[in-house]
Amino acid sequence: MSIGANEEFRPKIVAFCCNWCSYAGADLAGSSRLAYPADVKIIRVPCSCRVNPMFILRAFERGADGVILCGCHPGDCHYSTGNFYARRRMTMLFSMLDYIGVENGRTRVEWVSAAEGAKFSATMNDFVAKVTSLGKNVRLGDLRCKN
């Protein structure tokens, strides 16, 4: 698939949000009417540590242009330590992804608490802008999906 010259590029973005902080932060962004682009689609997980690197690879493979993982602030994890695991795992994964050509700008970990609706919205706006500037992700596409 190619993007026509006149067609505006809209990225596909998957956001994994932990149930306790970030998903609640997204809800607060919603009830406070703090807009962010519709390109972001949220998947609810119990904790940021539930996110298997495999899920992120899968998303890129299926055509996602950016993946963001949001969890509780360090020290505030509902399960005490989950976000620390997530942080370490993602540091490794993102550097591997960068190595194979999925730029660091397409991946992000962000801590958003349940009270930070404004931060959630600002983060998503910023992330979408960043991914949009990077354009379509072509590195990890599943060849079997191509025509």
Binding site: K12, V14, W20, C21, Y23, A24, A26, D27, A29, G30, S31, R33, L34, A35, Y36, A38, K41, I42, I43, R44, V45, P46, C47, C49, R50, V51, N52, P53, M54, F55, R58, A59, R62, G63, A64, C72, G75, D76, C77, H78, Y79, S80, T81, G82, Y85, R89, S113, A114, A115, E116, S121
Partner: protein, 663 residues
């Protein structure tokens, strides 16, 4: 088995329908594989809406339900219960959040509708892979812990005890009583604070259901709702509580009286062995080891010599008490901010610039000046007093707090009125930005200060306070209504410093895994509908720990928190979250990686017979104790062989959601 899925799209009045083409969503989702029923309705959560879901489950023999509506944090339970009543396993329901994540943040109808469809597809993909789950049960320890012994904690404990449950109060300082014990009078009725608080303190101490741990701190919390285990550190008092008679001779005779009095906000000093105030409960002193000569130099021991009861114990050690609780109430209260960032008000440069809390102590008969209004520099009576409002409140510049501290307008009116009443020759001026008086009889109270007591209210913030060579202060302010700059002489300046949550709350919130906001106030489970509960089950919020509030509000919230805790303690069993981890013993090789990351110690290993194609052996494999597992999923990612999976958020389900979104 092929799933038979029903899709229900809610209009939420116009909340969703105004931005999302609901009919189109129904039409599109009906085409998804496995969907056998799709409809929309005005309010899915209403009785009629729920009846529609129940009817469809029965008529179409649905095996899964997707509701496209508001956030699952709002109505997931509602729809699950509805499904259960209709005979469907409640965990076969998934929610697509098309309100908070779609209609409320997007404006373009086409775009919003498209996103709603995609979120619906993801929910359908997930529900197709759901399996029926059954909640387990856990026991409830019928005892509550209250952290903090101020008016909030005392009231909560009294109410819980009144319902017949055991309750422990953990208080960091040597006495219960909190901030309220430092206040002189209370608004808007001008009751003496001690007169209404002391009886409650005595009641708490006398109540046989209540155990007080003063001079103690919560050190460690483990477990979960209904079954918390808490370590409490009882700091060494150096006084044997069982022997002390509270006679007070030790305090009188203590030769070291140079320690700043915390209770009097450092305006005077106290002895090294002390009770914070005369009505302290328990009436047992504490040796402040940082100021005690015996501890500093080894020489002294006067208190031990004069104590007839033989209660002084210099060798006493901290003690750790471990106790089990079903519910925990946080009532850690507040302090006022440090004023280091507000050098323009000269708080550090003149002893006659004081905070409102210091003024409370000065006005109090048991305070450093025995209740005489006087300047701290020369002990002269002031003629002109200036009050400055919003010092550090409503500041979004990073120097102070962005919120309104809520109580300052009223206590300043109280101070102004009391001063004008007792010292009619003192001129009182209040510089304010807004006077905020929502509350019963509050505005009337403020107006009395102006109309009956002739307090001079000037609209405009003060820029600077300058201490003059003659010992007076000059207040550089502005009158915005007269559009004039004002330079006013004052003998005393009182700052309404912003309040902030007790700084210990960060540590406590982390131990409790309770969410906290950027201002260090604890977050409610729902800002409007569940204001006294933390999102973490079994944790309740009482008083200023949740947000600024005055005494009546604190007391009512304390009661509400108590009722919520009682509701929990009254249950014999709790249903546990069935979304727990499970090991596939075919894939597990017993490597122990999962147990290492589990924060709950829920994973153990057993030798089990494993039978499969070509396999028949006894092997060490992981076993999850579903009563302990809280379903975080850390183990599922750590497992190198992919044996661990989380029910309700399985690998296949999340991948199906990813696929649906990226389709």
């Amino acid at each position: 088995m092929q799933q038979r899925i029903g899709v229900f799209v809610c209009h939420c009045g116009s909340n969703i329908a105004a931005t999302v083409d609901v009919k189109k969503v129904v039409e599109m989702l009906a085409l998804e594989p496995g969907v056998v029923h799709a409809e929309d309705y005005q309010y899915m959560c209403s009785e009629v809406g729920q009846a529609k879901i129940a009817e469809a489950i029965k008529e179409k023999q649905l095996t899964g339900v997707v509701v496209c509506s508001c956030s699952p944090r709002m109505h997931e339970t509602t729809f699950r219960k509805c499904a259960e009543r209709a005979g469907l396993n409640p965990y076969m329901v998934e929610i697509a959040n098309i309100r908070e994540q779609v209609s409320w943040i997007h404006k373009d109808m086409e775009e919003a509708t498209q996103k709603a469809v995609i979120l619906g597809r993801a929910a359908i993909a997930k529900v197709s892979l759901n399996t029926p789950l059954k909640a387990g049960e856990s026991r409830v320890t019928k005892r509550a812990l209250v952290i903090g012994g101020g008016i909030a904690g005392i009231q909560t404990a009294l109410d819980i005890a009144d319902a017949g449950y055991e309750v422990d109060i953990v208080e960091k300082t040597p006495s219960i009583g909190g901030r309220m014990s430092q206040l002189d009078k209370t608004f808007p009725t001008l009751d003496c604070s001690a007169c209404i608080l002391t009886p409650k303190m005595v009641e708490a101490s006398a109540n046989e259901k209540i155990t007080l741990y003063t001079y103690s701190e919560v050190e460690k919390v483990s477990g979960f709702v209904g079954d918390f285990t808490v370590d409490i550190r009882k700091k060494a008092r150096s006084v044997d509580m069982s022997k002390c008679t509270g006679c007070g001779v030790c305090q009188e005779k203590c030769p070291n009286k140079k320690a700043p009095s915390e209770f009097n906000r450092g305006l005077n000093t106290r002895s090294a062995i002390y009770t914070p105030f005369a009505q302290a409960i328990p009436n047992v002193p504490v040796i402040d080891r940082e100021h005690c000569t015996k501890f500093l130099t080894g020489k002294c021991g006067v208190c031990s010599k004069v104590c007839q009861a033989g209660a002084i114990d210099y060798e006493q050690q901290d003690e750790i008490i471990t106790e089990k609780y079903g519910a925990i109430v946080v009532a850690t209260g507040f302090d006022i901010i440090k004023l280091d960032n507000y050098g323009e008000y000269a708080y550090d440069q003149s002893p006659d610039v004081i905070t409102s809390l210091e003024l409370e102590r000065i006005m109090n008969a048991a305070g450093p000046t025995k209740g005489h209004l006087e300047r701290m520099s020369d002990h002269k009576a002031p003629k002109n007093m200036v009050f400055i409002q919003c010092v550090g409140s409503r500041c979004s510049d990073g120097r102070g707090k962005s919120y309104c501290s809520k109580i300052c307008c009223m206590y300043t009116a109280k101070h102004a009125m009391l001063i004008r009443d007792k010292y009619p020759d003192v001129n009182v001026t209040v510089f304010y930005i807004d006077v905020r008086t929502p509350g019963k009889n509050f505005d009337e109270f403020y107006r009395r200060a102006v109309e009956d007591y002739h307090v001079n209210y000037i609209k405009g913030q003060v820029g600077k306070v300058t201490p003059e060579a003659d010992g007076s202060l000059t207040v550089h302010g502005v009158d915005l209504i007269d559009n004039k700059q004002i330079k006013m002489k004052a003998d005393m300046v009182v700052l309404a410093a912003a309040i902030e949550p007790n700084p210990d709350i960060r540590k406590i919130a982390t131990m409790l895994t309770a969410s906290i906001d950027t201002n260090n106030f604890l977050t409610e489970a729902h800002a409007k509908l569940r204001p006294v509960e933390s999102p973490t089950a079994g944790i309740f919020l009482s008083g200023v720990t949740q947000g600024p509030k005055d005494i009546p509000e604190t007391v009512s919230q304390a009661g509400a928190a108590a009722v919520k805790a009682i509701g929990l303690l009254a249950k014999d069993k709790l249903l546990t979250n069935p979304c727990t981890a499970q090991a596939d013993i075919m894939a597990c090789n017993g490597c122990s990686t999962c147990a290492n990351v589990c924060p709950y110690g829920a994973i153990s290993y057993e030798d089990k017979e494993v039978r499969g194609p070509g396999i028949r052996e006894v092997r060490r494999v992981a076993v999850v104790n579903s009563a302990l597992c809280q379903g975080c999923g850390a183990c599922t990612v750590a497992c190198p062989s992919g044996a661990m999976d989380l029910q309700g958020f399985s690998n296949r389900q999340i991948i199906a959601e990813v696929d649906a979104i990226c389709r």
